[in-house]
């Protein structure tokens, strides 16, 4: 990957990387650190990463950095309501986003916090970033069948959590 390609990849994926870290860690400060570290690592390894695979590579690196960070602290990040509000207000200028959608976002973000870090990362990669099962299996370093069952199970758990929170489909 040449210098210009690196710059393009960063511009293209920086927000996705930051968002993934934010929803994984439920904190903007941690997300900022992780996103910067992932982008720096892409620069270091730019000779080995192709432009077309930069996105999945960055999300894999982000996933690993998030897992390392949680493991070091030995605690699962708690959903901080204040941080959550800040994160949900990130696209407040979007007039199409209703209060109802923001409330639904708050509930799904809280429900995500109840999943294990690996399951949360997998379901975010699938539903938010639109990655294929193969890409997720590579990113999380798990067999394809395992990833498939993880995502199916996580969707079901999120559904139950939303139902328990009073969200009626």
């Amino acid at each position: 990957m040449e210098r210009e390609e690196y710059e393009g990849a960063v511009q293209q994926h920086k927000d996705r990387v930051h968002g993934h870290a934010a929803w994984m860690l439920h904190g903007l400060d941690d997300a900022r650190d992780v996103a910067q570290e992932a982008l720096l690592r892409l620069w270091v390894h730019r000779d080995k990463v192709q432009t077309r695979t930069a996105g999945p590579w960055l999300l894999k690196t982000t996933h690993n950095l998030c897992i390392d960070r949680m493991r070091r602290r030995q605690v699962r990040p708690q959903v901080d309501p204040e941080q959550l509000d800040t994160m949900l207000e990130c696209d407040k200028p979007d007039p199409s986003r209703s209060a109802e959608a923001t409330e639904l976002g708050r509930m799904i973000a809280t429900a995500l916090g109840s999943l294990s870090p690996r399951d949360r990362s997998a379901v975010l990669m699938r539903e938010v970033h639109g990655m294929t099962y193969e890409e997720i299996a590579t990113a999380i370093d798990a067999p394809l069948g395992t990833i498939k069952s993880v995502i199916h199970r996580s969707r079901e758990r999120l559904r139950l959590a939303l139902t328990a929170a009073g969200v009626t489909p």
Partner: protein, 196 residues
């Protein structure tokens, strides 16, 4: 009723598996038809399906959280801005190397001319008697020759560095500079041990 319940649960489990597969992409027409038939008669599975759709909608509606501009600036400062632009460097480096090589060659020529001008004039007349060597002049010539050799050595070293840079395509680090160039040594002749 009790006999029907396990059968219904199995149907529901299969239907929910197909629902999940359908969320990931198209499913075979036969499986899709079986699912539709099941959903037509199972209110609980219809509820599950709507719930899964809500989960997907909610996840996809999570706002993108942009990386702050100052955080991105720090990334640029530690990556692309921390190294010179390769394209510009590659454009002027060969020309600079060529110029340096030419300059080193010219310097050698000038030094050679200057040195030759300091030599004592060659005798043009027939020597009629032996000239006694002047110790003072010999010492002076020795010093001048030593100075010229030193300057020449510096110029040669610079030429060698320029040649290195042209081959490597980058500046020569101090570590590389310490590596000398030596002719490969001839293998020492193997002496057969004399039999005693």
């Amino acid at each position: 009723m009790s006999n029907d319940t396990p059968l219904v649960r199995k149907e529901c489990a299969e239907a929910r598996e197909v629902m999940q597969e359908h969320m990931d992409g198209p499913v075979p027409a036969v499986r899709r038809a079986t699912l539709d038939e099941h959903l037509a008669r199972c209110a609980e599975c219809r509820e599950v399906r709507r719930g899964l759709d809500t989960v997907r909608t909610a996840l996809r509606a999570l706002p993108e959280i942009p990386l702050p501009g100052d955080a991105l600036d720090e990334v640029w400062a530690r990556t692309v801005d921390a190294v010179p632009d390769d394209s510009r460097v590659s454009a002027w480096r060969p020309r600079l190397a060529a110029l340096a090589a030419v300059a080193a060659s010219l310097l050698l020529v000038v030094l050679a001319v200057q040195w030759s001008s300091h030599l004592p004039p060659q005798p043009t007349v027939r020597i009629t008697k032996a000239v006694e060597p002047d110790a003072e002049r010999i010492e002076q010539a020795r010093k001048e020759a030593k100075q010229v050799l030193e300057i020449t050595a510096v110029a040669l070293a610079r030429s060698e560095q320029v040649a290195f840079e042209r081959v490597l395509g980058r500046e020569v680090s101090p570590a590389i500079q310490r590596i000398g160039i030596h002719w490969p040594e001839r293998p020492a002749p193997q002496h057969r041990r004399s039999k005693t």
